[in-house]
Amino acid sequence: MKNPVLEIKDLRTSFNIKGDYYAAVDGVSITVHENEVVAIVGESGCGKSALALSVMGLHEQKNTKLDGQVNFGGQNLLTLTRSRLDKVRGKDIGMIFQDPMTALNPLATIGRQIEEPMDYHMKLSASEKKKRTLELLRRVGIKNEQRVYEQYPHELSGGMRQRVVIAIALACDPVLLLADEPTTALDVTIQAQIMDLMKELQNQMKTGIILITHDLGVVAEMADRVVVMYAGEVVEIADVKELFENPLHPYTRSLLNSIPSNMESKEKLHVIDGIVPSLQNLDRNGCRFAPRIAWIPQEDHEETPEMHEAAPNHFVRCSCYKTFYFPEDRVGEREYVATNS
């Protein structure tokens, strides 16, 4: 196995909502290795962004509580002072944000924004910085880099801006890249272009990547390992091939069922209804997913679901996967209540 770059251990991120703290990331452990792409999937609101922002220390300090460890480069990032953390962010870890329309400062030129991390992390002269920036712009697929260097964000399209955001993240040759749904805010055709760029960059670099996405097609193409999150918890982790061939957790199976291509090949497949409960309304006792698969009898659920290694390097929270079935599978065999009847 290659060297781990990032080790998240039992990370818990809680937000203050009207005086009480509620965990949006609830005991998550993930390891990312050199040159490895770890995809994080899960519905909106399951805590993916909260996780990435915790790693970067980007949550507002006042109303956020962070517990656990984020081990990177021999130190726990959660315990670093702001000035020590600033030596890591933008240098060894780069972040790509979701919405390129808002991720750039409207009043600074593209060139300045890409050079800014170099100001703090690299000893370069002004002309060296410019040279490096122009190279970066070319690397992210911008052809008229001389012109774009002088331009302001509002003069660029969404796809171009996202390329700039990627260039900023790569400015100081990071060893870890966090990409939080880098294509969700873009047009479909542009999404494919940006994903192609990400793949190309990934092939050239040794960077470890955490790729947050809902696009399972992208996961299949790019990821080495997949982490499935539900309601702040990791519910399944496996290598990408294993996960697609042998999904175990009911939630993972439901996610895979929602891929259109599968829909056509098999007959009608069950897609589990409902949404992730909000932080205050989430029942944190027992199985968090149980309310959405009401047809499974109570006694099948584990009391407090733990991670089980179902196959080598394939972990799933709870053992219910052994008895789980979709209502369609067993019509007439057993009594059930389907949520979408």
Binding site: L53, M56, G57, L58, R82, S83, L85, D86, K87, V88, R89, G90, K91, G94, M95, F97, D99, T102, A103, L104, N105, P106, L107, A108, Q113, E116, P117, Y120, H121, Y152, H154, E155, V165, I168, A169, A171
Partner: protein
């Protein structure tokens, strides 16, 4: 860019025409006209005589002819005669413009000197005791009428403590052009400027505080922090640049706005400026002067707005290309 400035300047023409039309109509609607004033003190004038003179001055012409004539003269700086002062309105105003411009300029500078640091502190350290103090000051200033505060300042610093003179714009015994003259002018400016500024900070502090709080939550600030930018620089390079931009742009508007708005301050401190002249002229029903002053301050606002738009287009790249 030049095209934008040109277009923006041309836009002023219809604005100014509209402004002058409205003012002309109002002046017409006011009781009396240029002639009434001239005959105020002369009860012997017969209606026939008055009628003859009205005819001679063109006051019986259709309104648009009168308007054209009035505007033509105004453009050349001829606003007619003030009957109370018995001198051309232009001469009367010219003697006071400098005082008012000085007062407005220094008031504006003071407003920014106070409001910008306080707004930044309140916005950056929201809910700190400093913020609470600043917000309290802001509410009190908001609720206090300028003239009440000016009277209070006058009472405390001029009357009780005797630190500053309480009337006029300069000590008339001092020869103009000397150092002592300058000092005297400055002394006379302190109370009016501070009275206007301490109350006048309200909008700027409020705006700056809110905008900083708003900018703080923006995504591009996360980008900046993710680059490893230290917090001080996150403020100076990113948040403040965005928040101060509209304030810089409002400069032109603010200063010219003050020119028309220092009426209370000038009156209370008997400061020889346009505002004081305005009130005096209204009291004496010297409408030629009133009309000229309204036209001047209205024009100042129109010009100030244009300046603000141009400054904004210079400092904000998003407006530049349009």
């Amino acid at each position: 860019m030049l095209k934008f400035i040109l277009r923006r300047t041309l836009l002023m023409i219809p604005q100014l025409i509209l402004l002058s039309l409205v003012i002309f109509m109002l002046a017409k609607a006011m009781p009396g006209d240029a002639i009434t004033g001239a005959f105020m003190g002369n009860p012997d004038a017969t209606p026939e005589q008055i009628e003859k003179i009205r005819e001679k001055f063109g006051l019986n012409d259709p309104w648009y002819v009168q308007y054209g004539r009035w505007l033509g003269k105004a453009v050349q700086g001829d606003f007619g005669m003030s009957y109370t002062h018995q001198q051309p309105v232009t001469t009367l105003i010219a003697g006071r413009v400098e005082n008012t411009v000085l007062l407005s300029l220094f008031t504006a500078i003071m407003i920014y000197l106070i409001a910008i640091p306080l707004g930044i502190i309140a916005g950056r350290w929201t809910d700190s005791w400093a913020d609470k103090l600043i917000v309290t000051y802001n509410y009190v200033a908001f609720a206090t009428p300028t003239f009440v505060f000016a009277l209070l300042m006058l009472f405390v610093f001029a009357f009780v403590l005797g630190w500053f003179p309480y009337t006029g714009s300069v000590d008339i015994k001092i020869e103009s052009g000397t150092w002592a003259y300058m000092v005297s002018r400055a002394e006379h400016l302190v109370l009016p400027v501070m009275s206007g500024a301490i109350i006048g900070t309200v909008g700027t502090i409020q705006y700056l505080r809110n905008d900083i709080i708003d900018q703080k939550t923006k995504e591009y600030i996360k980008t900046a922090r993710a680059k490893g930018v230290p917090e001080g620089r996150v403020y100076s390079r990113h948040i403040l640049r965005n928040s101060l931009l509209p304030i810089a742009a409002f400069l032109g508007y603010e200063i010219t706005g003050l020119i028309g708005g220092s009426v209370f301050i000038e009156t209370i401190f008997s400061y020889q400026g346009l505002g004081q002249l305005f009130i005096q002229s209204i009291n004496l029903r010297d409408f030629t002067v009133v009309t000229a002053l309204v036209l001047i301050s209205g024009t100042a606002v129109v010009v100030g707005t244009m300046l603000s738009d141009i400054i904004l287009s210079l400092v904000d790249p998003r407006i530049r290309i349009e």
